[in-house]
């Protein structure tokens, strides 16, 4: 018997998030409150199904055997699904607290990209597998949960900081180029993943982005880079349109700056707890609480970065745009810590050769 009912709920959740993003985008363009509300409903619905997915997967793992059952955060698929769940959780809290739906279009794509990647990438295994002995510990629960809640908070700060840069743009200067490039890259990544999903339906050692940038056919690669250039160019050309759309919402730069800071003020203690629980666990498993393993080191790099952010805010001139840029770069460190280390570097945390 194959226990994959949880995957069905995963797919439904993913589609709900897709609808949410579309609604939020429409809301941004047309500013109809009803559409914004539908976006929120789609998020709540998707989150409910996503929670069911996690719960069913947990239950199904125990159905497979007492020695196989585990909290669903043990491999790339499970952890990324959980990561998207924490991002949506944080988002719902922030949307409610600030009564503001314009954040939606900047945060839901991050969760959606995560769901799309693990949903479509051919060699990200979705089956439930037993925990390897090294992961059989209660520290797994608290270490993963605190770390991902921290990452989620930083993801929100990323979205809000992007909004800050958009709203405070006055001319097409370096900062304008920076945020239009950020948005362009996210759109290009989404398109590339979509192509992967459409054309790479068979498994067999295929890698992420192989339908576009990493294709064996040179013509496809050239077209991919041309497409990327086009998207970046369009983003730069029409960025002012995004700014005009956003300006219609009640997003003062002070409020965006404050939310960008407060989410980091929530994420930083969580990340600290994540690193500390990781160290305590490492000491119970290997006898060393800090081994300069790439994953450990990158989590420290992320931590140092946000510590710099927090200290910089006390220095005049480092609020506002500079803080927003630091927050965006910090999130890149978060993404590398979580994904880059596992997929590109080797070490104790490696998920193996996937992607």
């Amino acid at each position: 018997m194959v226990y994959d009912t949880n995957i069905t709920y995963f797919k439904i959740a993913g589609f709900c998030y897709l609808f949410a993003m579309v609604f939020y985008l429409t809301y941004l363009v047309f500013r109809k409150d009803k559409i914004g509300l539908m976006g929120t409903i789609a998020v709540y619905l998707g989150f409910a199904f996503h929670t069911v997915h996690l719960g069913v997967r947990w239950w199904e793992s125990y159905q497979m055997g007492q020695d196989i059952g585990h909290i669903p955060v043990s491999n790339l698929f499970e952890s990324m699904s959980f990561g998207a769940w924490t991002i949506m959780l944080m988002y719902m809290v922030v949307e409610k607290k600030y009564n503001n739906r314009s954040f939606g279009v900047f945060v839901t794509p991050v969760a959606l990209l995560a769901m799309a990647y693990i949903g479509f990438a051919p060699n990200v295994g979705k089956e439930i597998e037993p925990l390897v002995p090294a992961l059989q510990s209660y520290w797994l629960h608290i270490h993963v949960i605190t770390s991902f809640l921290g990452y989620a908070a930083f993801a929100i700060s990323f979205g809000v900081s992007l909004m800050y840069l958009i709203v405070t743009t006055k001319e097409k200067d370096a900062i304008y180029t920076f945020w239009t490039m950020c948005i362009g890259m996210v759109i290009a990544l989404a398109v590339a993943l979509g192509l992967d999903g459409l054309f790479l339906s068979q498994a067999g050692g295929k890698h992420i982005l192989e339908a576009s940038f990493r294709s064996g056919k040179p013509i496809v690669q050239i077209l991919s880079f041309a497409g990327l250039a086009a998207i970046l160019g369009l983003s730069w050309a029409f960025g002012t349109g995004i700014k005009d759309r956003l300006a219609a919402f009640a997003n003062t730069s002070e409020m965006l700056d404050e939310v960008g800071y407060k989410t980091i003020a929530v994420g930083f203690p969580l990340l600290t707890l994540g690193i500390i629980t990781g160290a305590v666990w490492a000491n119970e498993a290997w006898g060393t609480y800090w081994g300069w393993d790439p994953k450990e080191t990158w989590s420290l790099i992320t931590w140092l970065f946000y510590a710099a952010y927090l200290h910089a805010r006390y220095t005049r001139g480092w609020r506002g745009s500079r803080a927003a840029i630091l927050s965006i770069v910090g999130f890149l460190a978060v993404v590398f810590t979580y994904l880059g280390v596992n997929l590109l570097l080797s070490g104790l945390h490696s998920y193996g050769a996937s992607g």
Binding site: M64, E129, P130, P133, T272, G287, A308, T315, L345
Partner: protein
């Protein structure tokens, strides 16, 4: 002129020291150091810190096999292959410590003064600094005072009453000690560093391999302590650790059959020939004795120490069966007879070769093992020697009334344990706990103060309500507005 020059010269060392002090009080230095540490740490994740072969491979991919060795040499010289212990990395960490210490020493006295100063009545100067204030008139001073006291209590304050300058002051403050949160956090960083240093100076990491039924009383060092020398890089233990059994648990479900589910070593500690502790350890559950910890790390087959179980079934009068687990070279008494038998050789898996001799195949026992038994009679003289194997079932000893079969075979395992001794680890945990407390206090608690000043005027009173918070002003604004509502109701 000379006097002035002399004065300036005397001032120089003092001026230099105060300049250095000032350098370390800079917050810009903090941001610079934190970001520098972050950036250089990236290098250590790209250049392998443990395996030179990986670096050589990477350099060969980048520069080709000709230039790779020279490039690797440069990396080693710059300290990049062990960068987290290099002088410049440790230097950056030291700079951060100095920065933290000096900043805290500089700012702490002022904060301590604020924390220990009792809140005084509302003066004109204080009023100027407060962001929230409101003035209004009320009809009765005494009744209002009672109402105000209740309202402040309901808002979570404990008001004190003082008479000053002809007016009654009700004042309260909460979360004064939250101002210390930052200093707790900074101290925690220093504590963690101290713990880490204690560990590097006197702690060590090592490795032991213990074969089943064997024991060790010393540890091979993998990572040496900086301030203690162990001759031969081996740490002698004041006790023995014996491995009673190693078990490789595997999953039984069809899809995962054969996948390891657990590595379990049953270890016994012998201190002065007495068994003091027995524990079955697994990954994430180590053995600890006298501050030294043993972690399940790896395992393997110990060559030449297989255990074969030979079953001897008596052929005369009554069916009696006895199992003998034996290693190569073991000599045991054959129960129910005067004979002894010795294992001359054994193999896990054999087949009949082309010339009708037995050929060893794999070391996996599938029921086709073979053992050469040499029998000795009552006087100790060699008697029969026979090969026992299911492949040649008719091969049995001639004069000894027993039938022999092989019922089991277990290649003994050795268990690989990582050994760790870290006298600084509890200091590090203390630092971590302090850090979590400090961060929570610094971020989520703040210092709030409120005053209600009641000045009696003819037929009533003039009331001034004022307050302020050192952080999270928006939240305090809402709290203050609520308090005002209660007071003006």
């Amino acid at each position: 002129m000379e006097e002035k020059q002399a004065q300036q010269q005397e001032g120089l060392p003092a001026r230099f020291l105060s300049g250095v002090w000032k350098f370390f009080t800079s917050l810009k230095l903090t941001v610079f150091t934190l970001i520098s540490l972050a950036m250089v740490s990236i290098i250590g994740t790209v250049i392998d810190q443990t395996d030179p072969a990986k670096n050589m491979q990477m350099l060969m991919d980048l520069f080709g096999p000709q230039d790779a060795p020279a490039a690797l040499d440069w990396l080693v010289r710059l300290g990049l292959t062990d960068m987290y212990h290099s002088w410049w990395f440790v230097g950056l960490l030291t700079m951060l410590c100095a920065n933290i210490t000096v900043c805290s020493l500089e700012r702490f006295p002022g904060v301590w003064k604020k924390v220990t100063t009792v809140q005084g009545p509302l003066t004109g100067d204080t009023l100027k600094t407060l962001s929230q204030k409101k003035e209004f008139k009320v009809s009765g001073a005494a009744s209002f005072k009672a109402k105000a006291t209740e309202a402040m209590k309901a808002a979570g304050f404990t008001p004190r009453e003082v008479e000053s300058g002809g007016a009654v002051h009700l004042m309260a403050e909460n979360g004064k000690f939250s101002r210390l949160g930052v200093y707790i956090t900074h101290t925690s960083v220093i504590v963690i560093f101290i713990g880490a240093m204690i560990g590097s100076f006197w702690g060590y990491k090592g490795y032991v391999q213990i074969v089943e039924n064997g024991s060790v009383d010393q540890v091979s060092l993998v990572s040496k302590p900086l301030l203690k020398k162990y001759p031969g890089d081996v740490v002698p233990l004041s006790f023995r650790v014996r491995c009673d059994k190693f078990e490789l648990a595997t999953h039984q479900q069809a899809r995962f059959r054969g996948m390891p589910s657990d590595y379990l070593s049953t270890l016994t500690v012998l201190d002065g020939d007495k068994e003091v502790l027995t524990k079955m350890i697994q990954v994430n559950d180590p053995l600890q004795y006298k501050g030294i910890r043993f972690y399940q790390s790896s395992y393997g087959q110990a060559p030449g120490m297989a255990l074969m179980t030979v079953r001897a079934a008596s052929q005369k009068g009554g069916f009696s069966v006895h199992d003998y687990p034996m290693k190569k070279g073991d000599r045991v008494k054959l129960e129910g007879s005067d004979y002894e038998m010795e294992v001359m050789d054994m193999a896990a898996d054999v087949a009949l070769g082309p010339n009708n001799q037995l050929v060893a195949q794999s070391d996996q026992f599938k029921g086709r093992g073979a053992v050469i038994l040499q029998f000795f009679d009552k006087g100790g003289n060699p008697a029969d020697q026979v090969v026992i194997s299911s492949v040649i079932p008719d091969s049995q000893p001639q004069n000894i009334p027993f039938k022999f079969t092989i019922t089991g075979y277990r290649g003994p395992y050795y268990t690989g344990l990582q050994v760790s001794y870290d006298p600084g680890v509890w200091v590090v945990w203390l630092g971590c706990a302090l850090m979590v407390c400090g961060i929570l206090v610094a971020f989520f608690m703040f210092h709030k103060r409120v005053w209600v000043k009641i000045e009696e005027t003819g037929g009533g009173a003039l009331v001034t309500v004022a307050g302020g918070a050192n952080k999270n002003r928006h939240a305090f604004e809402r709290e203050f507005a609520k308090l005002l509502e209660r007071l003006q109701a």
